[in-house]
Symmetry: C2
Subunit: 387 residues, 2 copies
């Protein structure tokens, strides 16, 4: 079983890219990654694409093939596969690419994540984005992604006597970090007051608790241990990869604020990597809604259930004991559904290679990423490291 | 690297299942496969689903999770992933499952393929099914899947002086085999005359040249060598798995009647398996249109380019030198997009285990399956065998 390394990456600007197509931004990210990794496109033995809504938005299936064709590399007959696990598509695609190298089948593989959210407009936005929750049992009854997050938030806040400030702090931190990320969707810092007093979306959540509709694409290049050694390439090692999936609808779960798949996959990932929580230098987590930031810190095991507020209040910025979302997270770097998981991996690669510029986490050795499907149907956790 | 075996399978009836939902048929196939393989659902370490159009048809993403939830096994937190490569989604999902076991990550994995085509109606049928070709460069210009197949047929017939009878023979053979398959969509035999004189669809192709809109679901269970040995289970070995992808649009390819990804992936699959064409006992190939049956026999290397007609005329039935589509193929067993690839694998499993009943190919030792994306954007070839 080969070890697997990330040897490069690249991405488009994240934001409202009205003038650019899904194909364009996906190709931009892919070609930047290839250049950054110092590989040739003909070295690629496969391409895995994470994409959630492309079919529904553009009525085009087999998007991975459209991408490689548009990049001008289809004549090299590289197989491409689209992996879809709603908003966890990016990390799920990354995991399949990792397994394909581990199996000995591939040497150098590209993983791309891309989504063009701004093609949606009006009520279509709620309709199409609700395809990541249970349509028959949730969305048809009005339980959209925002409504489900609000439900979890309300019960969580009541049961643990947690104030709105703790939720808002998640978003304030994301914006502070995104201000240092030139590819981020929102580069403006926000104050706690601003976060607390934004337009209501689904009470108790307001605009500043909800990740935006972002267009964006990120790609990374993975390579086998053999390739890395033969080419003297420096890379970040994938120490573990874990995925878990539970009941789809929120009402079918044991708890409204514990995402069991996150608990299970983070435990597995730490075990596989032979690490403890204190070893983790930073975490990139899936805070599509601020409440998920708190819940996830607990489900990942960094705080006890109901107590992440203490951790958040004592600081989760770049210089803290556990920097959270140095990239700017889903709230401020942005949330292109199928790209989010790959974006987290790319940020971790930059951090662990010491290439994260102003937002560099000091002595970053091990990074954890957490990508979640919908309201917590599935979670994918990876631990990456440098030795 | 572990060897990988197919240890069981199951499927729903194929046909127009108006009264049944996508969830229902997928779950039926999955639970039948689990029972048939003699495993427990809690033994499954992952589920891979091949599905092409579910998002577009039902506006529900993450269908793999919907399936496992509806099967009542979500509380076992088994990860499930949807793999999408348009009409090759089934074989692509199978391949990812195979690689995941080969990598040492999983022991027992379910692969499901499911599609509910009859939810589409009216012009929506052409619109949505055209998501498997290049929408911007083909479908918008009227080049639907049927039109593209007709284009290939017309040029092929002209260049090689091949008559319509040769195309029709592909469909006649499918119907003859499907008559012996109780799960097939169409169980009526058809004569060459009937095949030649059906309603025109896209000249020179008529209704009998085109695979139907079929609902259906098939699942198979894969297991590692370790599991098979420890449990004394009999299975069919996956001898090789190959995939290749080329230019998306037909007009971008070198030839209108050579699908380069099929040529490449079949060559690789035979090499990996250490086999020659004469060793193959039967082939399950992707004849969504009759012309693809002829083209594929050539691209797989069973006949020279332009000469598959000779082979077809001398017979491709169950008792012939190379039985083609013993299941009834896409034309008569049916063509649920994302299920087709898994259906071919299941048929091969039955044949190689000697469980194919009336349509059993005598002394079946090695079977080849060929699943194609759209008009030939990608091809996935597997070789399975018993030793």
């Amino acid at each position: 079983m080969s070890d697997v390394y990330i040897i490069g990456g690249g991405e488009s600007k994240y934001g409202e890219l009205w003038e650019r197509s899904l194909r364009e931004i996906a190709v931009e990210a892919g070609l930047k990654a290839v250049e950054n990794a110092g590989v040739r496109t003909k070295d690629l033995s496969a391409i895995y694409m994470g994409n959630s809504l492309g079919g529904l938005i553009s009525k085009q299936e087999h998007l991975s093939a459209i991408m490689s064709d548009h990049a001008g590399i289809a004549t090299e007959y590289i197989p491409s596969i689209r992996v879809e696990a709603s908003t966890a598509s990016g990390a799920a695609a990354f995991r399949q690419a990792y397994l394909s190298i581990k199996s000995g089948e591939h040497e150098v593989v590209m993983v791309g994540g891309a989504e063009k959210m701004t093609e949606l407009y009006g009520t279509e936005i709620i309709d199409i984005t609700s395809s990541v929750v249970d349509r028959e049992w949730e969305a048809f009854a009005g339980a959209t992604p925002a409504a489900l997050a609000a439900l979890s938030a309300r019960i969580y806040m009541k049961d643990f006597h947690v104030g709105k400030e703790s939720l808002a702090s998640i978003s304030v931190n994301d914006h502070a970090n995104a201000a240092m990320n030139e590819n981020a969707h929102y580069r403006n810092k926000i104050t706690l007051d601003q976060a607390l007093n934004a337009t209501p979306i689904a009470e108790p959540l307001n605009l500043m608790d909800c990740a935006p509709m972002t267009d964006g694409a990120t790609s990374v290049i993975l390579a086998s241990e053999k390739y890395v050694k033969e080419h003297g390439v420096k890379g970040v090692k994938i120490l573990s990869s874990a995925i878990s999936q539970g009941p789809f609808a929120l009402h079918s779960r044991k708890s409204f604020y514990t995402v069991e798949p996150t608990v299970i996959s983070s435990r597995k990932a730490l075990e596989q990597a032979g690490l403890k929580h204190k070893d983790i230098s930073f975490v990139e987590l899936h805070d599509s809604y601020s409440i998920y930031g708190l819940m996830t810190l607990e489900d990942l095991g960094f705080a006890e259930k109901g107590k992440a507020n203490g951790m958040v209040e004592s600081g989760i910025g770049i210089g803290s004991a556990l920097p959270v979302n140095p990239s700017g997270g889903l709230k401020a770097k942005g949330f292109p559904y199928g790209a989010a998981g790959v974006s987290q991996i790319y940020e971790s690669y930059l951090q662990l290679m010491g290439k994260a510029g102003k937002r560099q986490v000091k002595d970053a050795t091990y990074g954890m990423t957490h990508n979640m499907a919908g309201s917590g149907t599935a979670s994918v956790v990876h631990i990456l490291g440098v030795e």
